[in-house]
């Protein structure tokens, strides 16, 4: 008599602490083994893309902050870079360096959240406290610059909103001086920890071929052995000026992703230090009056400045007719903006290419045939942000 093959279908999420947001997985199990996995998304769909078609280019900056909310600086940079490309506008060198400094600090902050939440998923709860302690210092740096810990709204089309405050550079250096020791501590706690290794090694393997097929990017792609990094392949915001390595893995398992992200934090620190050392003087926003507001002191002297101010505030900018795609390397992968303009003051279409969306699509192929408990590790290791998946 043939044994009937019995499977059990269970729901994981959307309210589950280890799905890192409102993600729902429909899992089909045979015992403890995953037969199939179907992610169900859309719980956090906010229609930001639609809303952006109804606002001017500048009004969209606070909206994009809320997409990949753990790395808002990258989100703003991607959007501003795309609009600047559409305008054919060059950004002052100082502004480019400031953007790099903030983005790399943001990368560290975002990876710390990943590390801490992975820790809590695997019951290393003290790790979360350590990581959030360090992240808090980066958020304070963000507050120093933009007035906001998260969702800064600091970048502008053509530059940044204001110059760095004087106390910023010393504070960043103080943090970065201590940071490697902290990272060493975490690595001493985890890298050769037997439990950590057993939970990560050989788990949620993503082959090179599958990574390409699903359009996976970021640390998840690099852990599978493909050294594709937007910062190196298509340098933006002066990344070609800095020396840094792109760490890669070989096996494409969760452990390789852990190693890649840990090294990325060290490389991010390296980039910030270089940018601080070589930070050029000069303006922090373009002097193109059709794009950026004139400075206050001009308003009292020049009628033209007043007209520009009025036009920018009441209408906004008018990029030429056309379409562009610009991408940056966010902590999760390639964050791209595809903008279609008809020459009016509002975009016709803004498409957000979300790295988490593509990375999540590869999840079923990672967990199939694995154990139920490893799904938690798999989700943590691709480090998705649901705001980014659903937009």
């Amino acid at each position: 008599m043939a044994l009937a093959r019995e499977t059990l279908t269970i729901n994981m999420g959307p309210q589950h602490p280890s799905t890192h947001g409102v993600l729902r997985l429909v899992l089909e199990l045979e015992g403890e083994v995953i037969v199939s996995c179907q992610p169900v998304i859309g719980y956090l769909h906010t229609g930001i893309e639609k809303e952006m078609e109804h606002r001017t280019y500048h009004q969209n900056i606070p909206l994009v902050d809320r997409i990949e909310y753990l790395s808002s600086y990258h989100e703003e940079l991607a959007y501003c870079t795309a609009v600047e490309k559409l305008l054919g506008l060059s950004v002052p060198k100082r502004a480019q360096y400031i953007r790099v400094i903030l983005c790399e600090l943001n990368r560290i902050a975002s990876h710390l959240v990943w590390l801490g939440t992975t820790g809590i998923d695997l019951n290393v709860s003290s790790l979360l406290m350590y990581c959030f302690r360090d992240r808090e210092r980066i958020l304070e740096l963000s507050e120093m610059v933009s007035g906001q810990r998260m969702m800064p709204g600091y970048f502008r089309i053509g530059g940044v909103a204001a110059d760095l405050p004087e106390e910023f550079a010393p504070a960043v250096r103080r943090f970065l001086d201590e940071f490697p020791r902290r990272l060493d501590e975490y690595e001493a706690m985890l890298t050769d920890n037997l439990i950590w290794r057993r939970r990560h090694e050989g788990v949620a393997v993503l082959s090179r071929e599958d990574a390409l097929r699903y359009g996976v990017t970021g640390p998840t792609l690099r852990a599978s052995g493909i050294a594709y990094d937007v910062r190196k392949a298509f340098p933006y915001s002066s990344y070609e000026d800095f020396e840094f390595d792109v760490p890669t893995g070989e096996r494409g398992d969760a452990y390789d992703r852990y190693r890649v992200r840990m090294e990325e934090m060290r490389q991010a620190r390296r980039i910030v230090l270089q940018a601080l050392d070589r930070l050029p003087d000069g303006p922090v926003i373009t002097d193109d009056r059709k794009v950026a507001l004139p400075p206050r002191h001009e308003l009292v002297r020049s009628m033209e400045a007043v007209i520009h101010q009025f036009k920018l505030v009441s209408e906004g900018i008018h990029p030429p007719k056309g379409e562009v795609y610009a991408a940056v390397e966010s902590p999760r992968g390639e964050k791209g903006y595809y903008i279609v303009s008809d020459g009016s003051n509002r975009p016709v279409r803004v498409r957000v290419r979300a790295p988490s969306f593509s990375n999540l699509q590869a999840l079923p192929s990672m967990v199939r045939g694995g154990m139920l408990a490893d799904v938690v590790v798999a989700i943590a290791s691709i480090d998705i942000v649901l705001g980014d998946v659903d937009r």
Partner: protein, 181 residues
């Protein structure tokens, strides 16, 4: 792809292989774009994936609504060659009364969710897609929100004195100079 002209080698290859079915090939701000007739777009994607072009990754697949112009929908594929460090944008068009495009899932499995998203938000059907159902909006949603003729509204909120305001009313659309209102 740097430079402002469409890469000549690629243009020659496409013209040779697809002839009249390549509707346009141009570059704007360094982004190379090729528009292919929808009947042969999947074939074009397959050819571009192979040697010597090696556009092995479908980075993004999306669409935009050209309403009221025709053909109304433009489906946009962003291809990337990680080994050669090049990008290419492939586009195809579908009319408003027959918004269907062949599915690219057989060439790029990653197109699966992207095509579901385009179906969900634009109502463009992908023929041959294994599971073309809504992905972001609720299953019982009516209409396709990212179409240009789908209005942006605000849900009424029960605050006293709150007047719902559509963002487009705060700064209205100003057409480019030389174009009527």
């Amino acid at each position: 792809m740097s430079g402002s002209a469409f890469p000549t080698l690629l243009q020659a290859f496409l013209a040779d292989r697809f002839g009249e079915d390549v509707l346009e090939a141009h570059a704007f701000r360094g982004d190379a774009t090729v528009v292919v007739r929808r009947e042969r777009v999947v074939e074009a994607l397959r050819a571009l994936r192979e040697d010597p072009w090696r556009f092995e990754m479908l980075v993004d697949l999306t669409a935009w609504d050209r309403f009221p112009a025709e053909p109304r929908f433009e489906v946009v594929y962003h291809l990337l060659s990680p080994s050669r460090g090049e990008r290419l944008r492939v586009k195809t068009r579908a009319p408003g009364d027959d918004p269907t495009v062949p599915s690219a899932v057989a060439v790029f499995p990653g197109a699966n969710w992207f095509e579901r998203e385009v179906w969900d938000l634009f109502g463009v059907r992908f023929e041959g897609h294994p599971n073309l159902v809504r992905i972001l909006m609720p299953d019982d949603w009516e209409g396709h929100p990212l179409r240009r003729d789908y209005p942006l509204t605000e849900e009424p909120v029960e605050f006293r004195g709150h007047v719902p305001k559509v963002p487009s009313e705060i700064v209205p659309r100003v057409p480019p100079p030389g174009e009527g209102p």
